[in-house]
Symmetry: C2
Subunit: 275 residues, 2 copies
């Protein structure tokens, strides 16, 4: 038997969302839409007597990862590597949780199905309070629309059939937990309106428009982000805020043409996978 197993999970930026609470973490989550990224997280899981997690070589704590290992009843050394900004709206915690589930299942022969592994990682992320919709989107790939909240047994996904270049910049972190555990009435209304716009017309331009509208209506737009989104618009491009970070993403060459020096990747095609 191999000593290690590895998985890749794409990054994910959410353009708009709702907060859907439920005592059952496999039913809780969010609706909304986003973009998965070929830039993501590689997770390597190795047998160990007690569990530990290294993110880019540094020891860190992630509640979602602890919960995934507990759910599979295993101990492991988890090594996650990523070039994505951490805590800035790129779904790194969800990616580490899902990658750990996939790789640990393969290493320990736990015989869970893909849906079961996504359920474990989604529930762990919800219970840890670090995310609501990244895991199910990262499992699918592409540009996922979350029509109904929750893990694979309850949630409903669709997708915008588009691929291409994505650019992003991050100016800093935002506290996901503080936002999703606070009063989300205005946010939920804005998220529902944006979702309905994209369901009626599931194309890229509409998604970017609905995302910008959401950031404004939900009152989540930091000045730095508003400025970058406006600059891209003035340069003839399309940008929006990555929820929830002080971060901006653009399709095509939008940020470059507005004079920024963005990271560049593509819309991810495949979603999370064993390596």
């Amino acid at each position: 038997m191999d000593e290690v197993a590895s998985a890749f999970v794409p990054g994910h930026v959410t353009g708009f969302f709702t907060v859907d609470r439920d005592p059952d973490p496999t039913k809780a989550g969010s609706t909304g839409a986003g973009v998965t990224l070929t830039e993501g997280v590689t997770v390597e899981v190795e047998y160990a007597e007690s569990s530990s997690l290294l993110l880019n070589g540094q020891p860190v704590e992630m509640g979602a990862v602890d919960r995934v290992l507990d759910a599979l009843s295993v101990h492991a050394t988890v090594r996650a590597e990523t070039d994505l900004p951490v805590g800035a709206g790129f779904g790194v915690s969800g990616a580490v949780a899902l990658g750990t589930a996939l790789a640990a299942n393969a290493l320990y022969g736990s015989d869970l199905s893909e849906n079961e592994l996504v359920t474990v990682a989604h529930g762990a992320e919800v219970q840890a309070g670090t995310g609501l919709g990244d895991v199910v989107a990262q499992a699918r790939g592409g540009m996922p629309i979350r029509l109904e909240p929750g893990g694979p047994h309850h949630g409903v996904l669709d997708g915008i059939p588009a691929r291409g270049r994505v650019e992003y910049v991050s100016f800093g972190e935002l506290d996901t937990t503080a936002v999703i555990e606070g009063d989300t009435d205005a946010l939920d209304r804005a998220g529902e309106e944006s979702r309905s716009l994209v369901v009626r017309k599931p194309n890229v331009e509409q998604f970017m428009y609905a995302s910008r509208r959401f950031a404004r209506e939900a009152g989540l737009l930091p000045d730095s982000v508003a400025e970058a989104v406006a600059a891209v618009g003035e340069a003839g491009g399309e940008a929006a805020m990555a929820m929830l970070g002080e971060s901006v993403f653009a399709l095509g060459r939008g940020l470059t043409e507005a004079g920024y020096d963005p990271a560049v990747c593509e819309v991810d095609v495949g979603g999370a996978t064993l390596l």
Copy 2:
């Protein structure tokens, strides 16, 4: 606006299945499980006054493709290229139908979602009588388990979380329409039993075992296929019959080690995608 749009759709071999008839083609389909392949079909769609289809440069008729273009209310020249054997259990007709839906939607700005495009292609394939479960599997990628039949609004999918090398050989065609429109009682019972084996233990070895068991119980095994499957088993590998073709697939190097000269690819990760 571009003059052409292209999509890639993975091949798909089914290991076992049931036939689930329904007057509504979006509810009809099959349960079962299979493997999607990095070897697949590239479909290019170009504006045209009247529709035509070329498969590897040769004019052909495919009822499913006509129906997809009708559903989108467009005319197009469709060029499909593949190295897969045609009519031999590799899902070529489903791939051409789904690739046509994705590429035509992009070219003509039809603004359908991914689920809607998969629904159109699945329904077209069912109504043409050329397949029951390839399209939804090809849209997902990986090793899909079809838990409930039908398109995305009715069907339920899961997956075996495994990746790796796949080998295949084909000795000839089998008539899918004749089998799925005939008496399928024994086949359905065998398919349900195999599905239940894989749901209980969703790993690769169990899938290959359940697939061999199905081919035998359903009485579908041609001598050429039985011989190759046995030869791979004697060489210590795992092989099964590709439904519905006179074709064999093996994971890893099974066919090579049994002395065959197979085509080689990998389990596809991403499923169908625009290029």
